[in-house]
């Protein structure tokens, strides 16, 4: 079985890596990574704007952002993809390429979820930080930029990175609108071989797992480094968090 897997990878690695380029659009792992990175890069500032809008007092900002977040939380991503792919061209008149559809949908969808995380981080800080900053004379946005957001974003790094990992996994849904990504490439390989679906999709799963797992490990490392710098401890895990403390005693 391992032999099968190795053979499949050896024969198809180029297809899996970059899809049918140059005979077609860039696909495979490269497309997945580009789509993921772009979605994350755009979703992050969008999420901050939505989070700030949800915290503002002006109804013009509060209502649209709240509606967006509730729609994203209540409707499946697949449904939203179909919306953007089929319905929006009817409204604006031109067809949109699959890649752009996925990008826009992901930015809005992941942005909405990310904004909830950021908003939770901001609210968790409490009033004291904002009051101290405003008392010194900072404006609301100044306080946000220099005091609140740095802390909120840092505190929520695990959740934020977990959302990034979700984004990477959600890019596979582009498959239903024929976006040439890694899942699509894997499907092509499978349709060629026909007799080894398990091995092919195992490779697919493995690649996704490696990417997501590395991101998660990087997050943990990053968090521990910053935490040590701030509290001056020598790299120990806080005692309350060790699993030992919570296991059953005889």
């Amino acid at each position: 079985m391992i032999g099968d897997i190795v053979i499949i990878i050896r024969d198809n690695w180029l297809l899996l890596l970059i899809g049918q380029y140059p005979n077609g659009p860039l696909g495979g792992l490269a497309a997945t990574l580009i789509l993921s990175v772009l979605s994350i890069a755009l979703a992050f500032p969008v999420a901050m704007l939505i989070a700030l809008a949800r915290l503002s007092k002006s109804p013009f900002l509060l209502w649209p952002s709240t509606v967006l977040v509730y729609v994203a939380r209540g409707v499946p991503l697949l449904m939203l993809i179909f919306w953007v792919y089929f319905v929006v061209p009817l409204i604006i008149g031109t067809r949109i390429p699959g890649f752009v559809t996925m990008l826009v949908t992901l930015v809005l969808y992941e942005g909405a979820f990310l904004s909830e995380i950021i908003r939770a981080g901001i609210v968790a800080l409490g009033r004291g930080q904002m009051e101290a900053a405003r008392s010194l004379g900072h404006s609301y946005m100044g306080a946000m930029a220099w005091v609140i957001l740095p802390q909120a974003l840092y505190n929520m790094i695990p959740s934020i990175l977990s959302q990034f990992v979700s984004t990477i996994k959600d890019t596979t849904l582009g498959y239903v609108i024929n976006v040439a990504d890694l899942t699509f490439a894997a499907n092509q390989v499978n349709n060629q071989l026909l007799t080894q679906p398990f091995q092919v999709f195992f490779i697919l799963a493995l690649i996704y797992f490696v990417i997501c797992w590395s991101l998660t490990r990087a997050a943990i490392y990053l968090e521990r480094r910053i935490s040590n710098k701030r509290s001056g401890r020598g790299g120990q895990v806080p005692p309350a968090m060790s699993a030992r403390a919570l296991t059953a005693e005889p």
Binding site: Q129, A132, L136, G137, H138, S139, G142, R230
Partner: protein
């Protein structure tokens, strides 16, 4: 310097402040004391508009803090009043010296090196120059509060407000913070302090205001207040304190 004119404030149905008329003169040190729930924290928080009022005016250096004004004006006004919180509220993601230099750099446009020099001088003054690069998480409560005072002083305000600065500290650290406050008073800083530290009031205050249920019931100099309070509730408060 700080004048309260017919100040009233309600939280919904509850009257938090009733007809406050008082004045803190330039260079004066006023201590506001009273039982909990008396409105003293609310009162001091109205001075820089952390709390709104329903009627009346609060004049700081001649300007009404609660008049309708642009956000920029309010921010500028706030930068002229130093506020020290009970829970310190240092910025944990910045080092001590960065906590102090943040506001002069971002708000007053002071150059980084100049701000650093001034900050080091302030830290020296509160006795923490050796902790310039430490983070708040590494400091004790008393040290954090002293840094908070230095941070407020960095904006060179003509007046300082203290909202129960030592109430959250372990007893052995109260002294170091009070020492800083005393030295500030000795230099002629206009100060308004909400505190339970009666020793501080006796030594340093020019006037003591006693508050209960939203009104200032008695205003006197410390000598008179501590030896012969007039209002019955003030008498009761002082006798409760002694136990």
């Amino acid at each position: 310097m700080i004048t309260f004119e017919n100040v009233n404030k309600k939280y919904g149905e509850y009257q938090a402040l009733t007809d406050i008329n008082a004045e803190v003169k330039r260079g004066e040190v006023v201590v506001v004391c009273g039982p909990s729930g008396s409105g003293k924290s609310t009162l001091i928080r109205t001075v820089n508009r952390l709390e709104e009022i329903n009627s009346g005016a609060i004049l700081f250096d001649g300007k009404n803090v609660h008049a309708p004004m642009s956000r920029r004006e309010l921010n500028r006004l706030r930068s002229h009043v130093g506020f020290v919180f009970q829970s310190f509220n240092l910025f944990p993601h910045l080092s001590t010296i960065e906590n102090i230099t943040l506001s002069p750099i971002k708000i007053n446009g002071v150059k980084r090196e100049v701000a650093r020099e001034k900050a080091m001088a302030l830290l020296d003054r509160v006795g923490l120059a050796h902790k310039a690069d430490a983070y708040p998480g590494q400091l004790s409560g008393g040290q954090q509060q002293r840094v908070a005072i230095a941070r407020a002083l960095a904006m060179e305000p003509p007046a300082m407000l203290f909202d129960e600065p030592t109430s959250a500290l372990d007893p052995e650290m109260v002294g170091e913070v009070l020492a800083v406050m005393k030295s500030l008073a000795a230099e002629g800083m206009t100060m308004m302090c909400v505190t339970h530290e009666m020793g501080f009031a006796r030594d340093v205050a020019d006037r003591v205001w006693f508050m209960d249920t939203g009104s200032i019931l008695e205003m006197a100099d410390p000598e008179t207040f501590f030896s012969a309070p007039e209002h019955p509730r003030a008498k009761r408060f002082l006798s409760d304190l002694r136990h």
